[in-house]
Symmetry: C2
Subunit: 302 residues, 2 copies
DNA sequence: TGGAGTGATATCTCTAAGCGTATGGAGCGC
DNA sequence: GCGCTCCATACGCTTAGAGATATCACTCCA
């Protein structure tokens, strides 16, 4: 790539003159006097090395060299104008692309309203939404394969990633409707001591898993996890078939399944945090835009 | 078409930096110090209104806005460089297009050697060659549908068109071989007084026609034109079949036809001029190039 | 903790571009 | 022949841009 030889203002003058074929008219279209236009053209011709216009009294027309240069000049000018406009659109965040990872349990609470308000405000933005559990989200953020993460129990501090709590929610017991404890409006954790448990694998989100486990331990028992499932949807299905019970964030109440009951637990102290995560140094203007949308638009309550 | 907002030198710096992603390296590739490069980029970012690079210690990368602008900048730069190079090629006359009209009788003398030497010198030039009689050539030159004319008996002066004599040639008598006069090495025009004549229509080239007619008148008779043909080739064919005799420029000797004899005429005073014609104000550099080739390369003798 | 590396900033200089006004000069038509 | 149109030229002014050097701020690493 060599250094540019022809300045754009002169090319602009050239294109306009090529359209008008009249120095006076072209000059007024350019908003300048006629002599400066003559100079511009002359300078351009000096740089090209050949005449671009043939001036005959009465009429003026392009030389072959000028005809050859014209399309390149026009393309450069229009291309740059369009590119600049597009870059400004992207820079302002009116258009662009945002890749969002989200935990499946948020598909029914945080995500819908967030997407609704964001789409409303930035209809031209491409949103790439993909479901991911917490740990892969953190990796994907670092690898720049997603720009925004919606996850549970974020790490407290991180040098590269920023976190902000979207909501905190209590836990509920997930029981088969036929389970005797399901008859109560609220259950105590220790009532589940003898039940087999269905949970997400610890690797999917260690902090959440540990939080659930410590709920049980605080109630005086270690949960007997007889079954794992990577999605809450599946957990509920397994509970329905009577394979066990579970403790889960309140969000999953939204999974309405006949034969599954959700019950408040008591005491109701422990809460799980849902957070949004992003790269602190991300230059994408859509990231702050999304965070703003999240701030102003509280998620649907379960 | 609006006035350009982004100067090319800054876009050049932008593209190079986008390739290097390192201010120091990019600056040295540009042949400048690092601080001026920082300034260039900063100015460009100011004009765009948004950051184009995100500077993090250790690595620097494009923002979405920068990624959006990059292809436009690159296209503008390369497009202009190519367009400029092409315009210079055309301006110098190394490449381009030249439309040439020629009289049929020159297809065997002037034209072949001219095309040979011109093609040799300017192999990249497109030559559009078309056969035209004299009068249409002059019209085509004025209408700019041809750039060069090769014709007979050009008008003496013209405000718009230039003429230069390529060669002058004597007239020859065209006779059937069986004609008694064909036995002589040279014929006197008055020997043809009683023969029917085959000639080109006067409209094709009035000066040439008039010249031939006046040859006869000078010999004391008015030619009895019994047959017209628009090409010399056809004239010869008609002469062969015995339809008449003709007087023609010596060039047509090249039309070798059994049964047709060409004989020098005496006295051998009258000559016909072959000339090249062009628009005086033509800006195509190939026109002077062709004239130069014509000057340096005398046509084949018949 | 100090030095290397990297980029930003401050300041200065100089040139070339860009524009305006005034003027010159060639064609063209009345 | 005179005036008009149209483009070129001359001259002066102003400013943006591009460059250099010197220096600062930050990070990272030994």
């Amino acid at each position: 790539m060599e250094r540019p030889e022809l300045p754009l203002p002169q090319l602009h003058a050239f294109v306009v003159l090529a359209e008008e074929l009249h120095f006076g008219h072209a000059a007024s279209r350019l908003g300048i006097a006629q002599p400066p236009l003559s100079q511009q053209i002359r300078r351009l011709e000096d740089k090209v090395g050949y005449a671009l216009f043939s001036r005959e009294p009465g009429r003026i027309c392009l030389t072959p060299a000028g005809r050859q240069l014209l399309p390149a000049a026009r393309h450069a000018l229009t291309g740059l104008a369009e590119g600049l406009a597009a870059a400004r659109e992207v820079g302002s965040g009116r258009v662009g692309r945002l890749r969002i990872g989200f935990a499946a349990s948020l598909a029914l609470t945080v995500l819908p309203s967030l997407l609704r308000t964001f789409r409303e405000r930035f209809p031209a933005v491409d949103l790439d939404i993909q479901e991911m559990t917490t740990t892969p989200q953190l990796a994907a953020l670092r690898e720049r394969t997603i720009d925004i993460g919606l996850l549970r129990e974020p790490p407290a501090h991180d040098t590269d990633l920023g976190f902000e709590t979207v909501l905190t929610e209590p836990f509920v017991a997930v029981l088969p409707s036929s389970h005797p404890v399901a008859a109560q409006r609220a259950v105590r954790v220790e009532q589940l001591a003898d039940c087999p448990f269905v949970l997400l694998p610890r690797a999917v989100g260690p902090p959440l898993y540990d939080q659930i486990a410590s709920l049980c331990i605080a109630a005086g028992f270690t949960p007997q996890v007889t079954q794992h499932a990577v999605e809450w949807q599946t957990v509920c299905a397994l509970v329905e078939t009577g394979l066990g019970v579970s403790l889960a964030p309140e969000s999953i109440r939204r999974i309405r399944l006949k034969g599954v009951a959700f019950r408040r637990i008591e005491p109701n102290a422990a809460r799980t945090r849902v957070a949004v995560a992003w790269r602190k140094n991300d230059s994408n203007p859509l990231v702050p835009h999304l965070l703003a949308a999240l701030d102003q638009d509280p998620p649907d309550r379960p």
